[in-house]
């Protein structure tokens, strides 16, 4: 196993109202090259802070005591080139007044040294790869002309335009409905396999994470609770918190909460 990124004793502290709040405490974690790793947790668990720390996107007032090595990369990663990032809300990550073809081509031009015509050809190819209908006219479309799922496809195309080694998807399907969510998960799985990328999938949904990831890391209150192969985490969780998360999932086979005899007639 080649280690893409090795995180040792990562601590992130935010300053809020004059006091320091630790968002992550002493996290040590290896991300294997080519794996699909899910980071799951509830609000305040630190899962998004971890994603931002790995991508070097933490806001300035935060204090970071961090040791991340990148043996699988052999250099300090550059955001956009070595790490692609897909956020929850594609409307916020895409420029509303720039045609989407230009937004994707810009990434390819900046990081791959392509000319504009080459970059546009690459953008069109990427729109085909993310299965956007009619890529030729889509190049000239603005984000508001697309549905939420289509916008997320464009955001993914931009994220992978420079051929990153690591793709980070932070709640990338949480704002989408169930059917579109399943389509985007299928798309991410295919693109990661085709390009040999490593995937860091950040989610609050343990069922969704289990469908996509080979390993799952469970976070709570800024600490890594448990890390293991997906089947082991789901079938034999070592920590009570992991078991509680699994038990709280209301699946299609869950015992109904409703006492039907209680219905007034």
């Amino acid at each position: 196993m080649t280690v893409l990124a090795s995180i040792r004793d990562l601590t992130v502290t935010y300053r809020r109202d004059g006091t320091e709040v630790a968002a992550l405490k002493n996290i040590s974690l290896d991300i294997a090259a080519g794996e699909r790793l899910a980071i799951i947790g509830e609000s305040g668990s630190g899962k998004s802070t971890l994603a931002l720390a790995i991508a070097g996107l933490l806001p300035a007032p935060s204090r970071i005591d961090v040791w991340i090595e990148w043996p699988g990369l052999g250099r300090v990663p550059l955001g956009g080139r070595d790490i692609g990032f897909v956020f929850q809300d594609p409307s916020a990550s895409l420029d509303p007044v720039m045609p989407i073809g230009q937004q994707i081509a810009e990434v390819a031009r900046t990081h791959l040294g392509l000319t504009w015509p080459q970059a546009y050809a690459k953008a069109k190819n990427l729109l085909e790869r993310v299965r956007l209908p009619d890529p030729d006219s889509a190049l000239l479309a603005f984000p508001h002309q697309l549905s939420g799922g289509q916008k997320q496809r464009v955001a993914i195309a931009a994220a992978i335009a420079a051929g990153p080694k690591l793709l980070i998807a932070d709640e990338a399907t949480s704002a989408l409905d169930t059917i579109v969510q399943a389509e985007i998960v299928t798309l991410i799985r295919r693109l990661v396999a085709e390009d040999g990328m490593t995937l860091l999938f950040i989610s609050h949904d343990i069922a969704l994470a289990a469908e996509l990831a080979e390993r799952i890391a469970v976070f709570r209150h800024g600490q890594l609770v448990e890390l293991g192969a997906t089947a082991r985490i789901v079938d034999a969780p070592a920590q009570p918190y992991t078991r509680a998360l699994l038990d709280a999932h209301i699946g299609l086979d869950a015992e109904p909460l409703l006492n039907r005899s209680g219905l007034a007639t």
């Binding site: 343990i206 469908e211 709280a248």
Partner: protein, 258 residues
């Protein structure tokens, strides 16, 4: 007699020079103490139906009868009076409330506006409402933005039940909550339903939750009813194309040792 009867409801919006039906000839009823779920993909019309039932928007055609009144014909004071019986809880209470208001203020408003309790009586009523939704009375003095998401949704439920409604519209009311909190809120809602005989119009994209809490479900597709019936029967074996697609897309946990 049904509590709410919706007949041939239609709402159209202009889009790209054409008129698109967001809700297209939809009819259903809700009985007292019953949970009817509306499920479907984005754009299927479920939230538009909620807004029509709440009269936040007006339909292009159709009838809504609520507690034996022609609800669409009501206006002014008679509409305000009837609205006390029809409450709502939205997905994001932080967006629905003034974040700087205190919990007491949020609960004081409906008691005052609907003339339910005198000024001197209201603090006691507010404490009772907080207790009813499982919150400490001391929370009354805290600001909405200071409390947790789960506590906020409990306050939203307390506010909804303050006017003794017969129907509450729950529009993705548990969708944004952490899973550990979501179960508690669902139990609270079912408990209130049993004790107060409140009916719910439960809007959700999550078939697992719908199956667990609803008596009946309507599956919507492009503004029309694709399928309806007993919630467990429909979700366990949907017949419509959209029902099958929703079921296939739902994430599953394959636990061999639950």
């Amino acid at each position: 007699m049904s509590l709410l009867t919706v007949s041939n409801l239609t709402k159209r919006y202009p889009r790209g020079g054409k008129s698109i039906a967001a809700v297209d000839d939809v009819s259903f009823h809700i009985d007292p103490g019953e949970t009817l779920a509306l499920a479907g993909p984005s754009g299927s019309g479920k939230s538009t139906i909620a807004r029509l039932v709440l009269r936040l928007i007006e339909p292009d055609a159709g009838r809504i009868e609520f507690e034996d009144n022609d609800f669409l014909a009501l206006s002014g004071a008679s509409l305000r009076a009837r609205r006390a019986r029809l409450q709502t809880v939205f997905q994001d209470p932080l967006a629905a409330f003034n974040p700087r208001a205190t919990v007491a203020r949020v609960l004081d408003d409906p008691l005052r506006i609907h003339g339910i309790a005198s000024r001197s009586e209201r603090p006691r009523r507010i404490a009772a409402l907080l207790e009813r939704v499982g919150l400490a009375a001391e929370l009354a003095s805290r600001a909405i933005h200071e409390i947790s998401g789960g506590q906020r949704q409990r306050v939203a439920i307390a506010r909804a039940i303050a006017t003794k409604p017969s129907l509450i519209v729950l529009d993705e009311a548990v969708s944004a909550l952490d899973v550990s909190v979501r179960g508690q809120i669902l139990h609270l809602l079912l408990d209130l339903q049993r004790q107060e005989r409140i009916a719910y119009l439960f809007i959700s994209h999550d078939l697992g939750v719908v199956r667990a809490v609803a008596h009946r479900v309507i599956l919507l597709d492009a503004g029309r009813i694709a399928e309806s019936g007993d919630a467990r029967a429909v979700i366990d074996a949907p017949r419509s194309a959209i029902g099958k697609a929703l079921l296939a897309a739902a994430p599953r946990l394959h636990r061999t040792r639950p």
